[in-house]
Symmetry: D2
Subunit: 304 residues, 4 copies
């Protein structure tokens, strides 16, 4: 990819500042680019269902300590005796789902830079000990159901996984979409597969060190230009981002109002896309309705 120039820091900062969607859906809007998913869009998504094959994009609930799971999820059991030989098994789940282990959705309050949170709000005013008062996950509780489009980077590159020295660039996303014969549209969910499982098979588990391969800041204009509502990925931001800024691609949250599904499980989806011969499908992302919550662990499902 020698013909492409890396953006400068000023350009990247411009992506997050000059092109942001603040005010686009009203000064008090807490829904962001998910506003682009109209009822017609959901109908379109459902119309993609032809074979009836469903694929989960959810990793296992991360109970096991690992290099990328320093605060493992909790799972505890209780038994209830109902008498006469009857009973019940119940459990407790506890999880700090942000980070690099859990498949989860980030809501619009999750991150910010010096200019503020989504729509220009101030974190010191909106984030309290009892939760977020603006941009919480409850704003998406009727679900994010839209057309999903998978861009399969390893397949395009002919390599098993994205590497640290070759991050995914915005121009590459364009090329992959073209190669796959799909066109991203407003309200779509953009799903970028980087080959995380393949990476894990021959490397220390992805996310366990200070650096990790992923999407370069050059992807920001692609997200903004395509007007997608959601970015679903397995590898997240190329880290370190190379610009010494707090957030690069994660900035789509506060700049564009785009939701993120972090740590999605995409190897099975990529396999099914190849088998089904298409890279578009119906995607369902259904967060828990947590008042004040900054996101939700969940199980995204693609239906073909």
């Amino acid at each position: 990819m020698p013909e492409h120039r890396l953006p400068t820091r000023e350009e990247v900062e411009g992506y997050l500042r000059d092109r942001r969607n603040w005010g686009r859906w009203g000064a008090d809007d807490q829904v962001g680019a998910v506003n682009l998913i109209t009822p017609a869009k959901r109908v379109q998504a459902a119309s993609l269902v032809r074979s009836g094959r469903s694929v989960s994009l959810c990793r296992e609930f991360p109970k096991t300590p690992a290099g990328n799971n320093l605060n493992p999820a909790q799972h505890f059991m209780r038994l209830l005796d109902r008498g006469a030989g009857g009973g019940a098994a119940m459990d407790y789940y506890g999880i700090s789902y942000h980070g690099v282990a859990t498949t989860h959705l980030d809501s619009l309050c999750h991150v910010w830079n010096k200019d503020g949170m989504w729509n220009g709000r101030s974190p010191s005013q909106e984030i309290g000990f009892d939760g977020a008062h603006f941009g919480a996950i409850t704003n998406w509780s009727s679900g994010i159901i839209t057309r999903g489009v998978l861009l399969d980077v390893p397949r395009f590159r002919g390599e098993p996984f994205v590497t640290q020295d070759q991050p995914i660039h915005g121009w590459e996303l364009e090329e992959i979409a073209q190669a796959e014969g799909v066109k991203l549209e407003a309200g779509d969910a953009l799903i970028v597969y980087g080959g995380r499982e393949a990476w894990d098979r021959v490397n220390p588990v992805w996310g366990s060190g200070p650096s990790r391969p992923g999407l370069h800041a050059s992807c920001l204009p692609f997200v903004r230009d395509t007007d997608v509502s959601l970015l679903v990925w397995d590898m997240m931001d190329h880290t370190p981002n190379g610009y010494d800024i707090p957030w690069s691609v994660h900035g789509v949250i506060f700049a564009y109002g785009v939701g993120l599904v972090d740590n999605a499980l995409l190897e099975p989806l990529a396999q099914v896309c190849a088998e089904e011969g298409r890279y578009e499908f119906m995607l369902m992302v259904l967060p828990l309705n947590v008042v004040g919550g900054t996101g939700s662990p969940l199980n995204p499902v693609a239906l073909f």
Copy 2:
């Protein structure tokens, strides 16, 4: 409803014993009636999407102590400083989701009677301190996506909610389906609305005492006869069940392999069904992928 006779205890025990589905999908099957959701069934469900309207069936994550929420869910916040004015808000969720407060899916290992768990397994062998080894929620991790059919009891009765002295009976479910012009089919999700929100407006919060209105054991044959895959409800089993047995309608889990979505929020769905003029739609129930888990909190969504 004077023309109907209440089943005897022997008849109810027979519903759970003589008519059970053990072995129907193999001796080691852990999927149960969800096997009835074929790819074609999912295509049919998607074909019901016409207006694109989506409705959540999920209550608020129950953080507030209440008479029916004695072990409230936990929500704790953390802040991350990323430097240069950037940051992140993150949270911890902890929940004992079984009981009467949380919208959740029960998996096939959740309950049993003296004859055993689903497919005849023994709870003392299958339930451990680390989770369930049979019938855990992971067996449904590709999602339960099917045709949903709402039976609106308050509308049928012309009353705001089901009362303690008039539980919902199986013959009434048949009558409601007929009145709504829908027919339950194999693999469908049966959704029974009892008017819980209306109840809560004029009574102590539903589920806060030892007795509560809901579905009578006479509903068991209807579930079995229709071959539904899932029962979604807001009021659960009429309690006490009147037969001094550990489980009445909850027995569909171990007897028929039918999943339960407990504590669904159905008032908005009933309203939308009335507005849309139809009681069938696409239903999405997507549980977390917890190894050994006995169920999952989740956000079921209906799409019209």
Copy 3:
């Protein structure tokens, strides 16, 4: 007690403002009145040990939901198989220990009024999402070991427990000490028994409603005059405090630098004091060493 006048609101505010100990042990001091427990004081405390009888002042870890325990403590079990028939049982404890259910020690960062926290610090600067940066429980991690003096209010009054209409007053504490033949000294732990267990036997569990009997704001000068290091009690502040101020007796934390052991179990201690014929003993209060913690659940023990 007709000869005593209730203090005015201005007088109570003066107790907390004019008589406070800010700066007494240095502007940056985080130890407060516990500074008064010198090595000599600990030797004196140990010299009180004569019969060797030990008494716990700790209630049961509050796992059971109750009217005064709306967020019950968590206790979950795990098993570890070590092979060859060997094993281990382990558990998880989770607790929000502040409130009225758990026996715990409050550290100096726990409460404040408009004038600020202990030593004049600002809560908005010192309390973060990661804990308290000033006055945390770690400052007392070498333990609070001193002479304990029990004032037995029910015995003095000849009634089983303190009632809502007859709160404990400062002049009564003086009279009880005199009647018991003890004199409070600098660095002592003042232990005020109100008869909570007896209350619970004939009333809704103490602390389950908006009002509850306890110590009146008139006790503040007694605490200040005696220069005690610690206040241990079963009934806490008379509530409502009658002055429409955020904190009355709890104000000893931020005004005087005095620690509080809330929800102590004092009925057994009162019984032993009566049997041993003395109201002074060695007291041990040993908090967990939690960086940033606002207090600690613990088991205070009195040794005679």
Copy 4:
């Protein structure tokens, strides 16, 4: 130490089987060797207090993930607004305290081998999902207060810490006691310092790998012969124990009824012993009163 022979596996198994204290304090006893702490013993302990110096044996509450802390403790904050500028900071603590990170006391139900738990009870009968029904921590809720004796292994050896190839042996404990001029007596707390902090300064944190230095099984007869009530240590069992048995020194729990304080912080105590010129002192170990609990995090304090 060339003159000493390592015990055979048969001898070690004999220590745990032939010399056990089952039945010594009754067939149903749940207190074990703590029975040896008589009131007179507590008076003796208090009589050792001369300088009034107190020393904590408690590590920091382990919130930070580390190689020996794979399930870190939780600490979450909440704020309470009390109006008029008043407020409170409160927190939640959650901890799986067993393992190698937290200073905690093991109760008699914690471990077992093929012969059973303390006093011959069966773990399958006594350990439930709701806790332990025999030998739980509540049996020690009046506190373990006794004479503590520190054996300082690094000082005796003239080396900073115990190493993997030179575990602590029983005969060495005898020699150290003699060199220090102390004699262990019935009911004492035996405290064995291995130099864990010094180890941590030049090695991967103690307890982070499959092997770690500590006390050899040859220490078992010393514990049994001296009739101590408690073993307090920073390095625990030499691991692997070399005999392929589930528990070596940890077996004092089920065989002798001796409590263990694991992961004590002993470097400061050793320093103070040297400064004070004595290795005996008053020790206070005060567990939380958790019904069914297998132990307790706590802050043991030594008073000189």
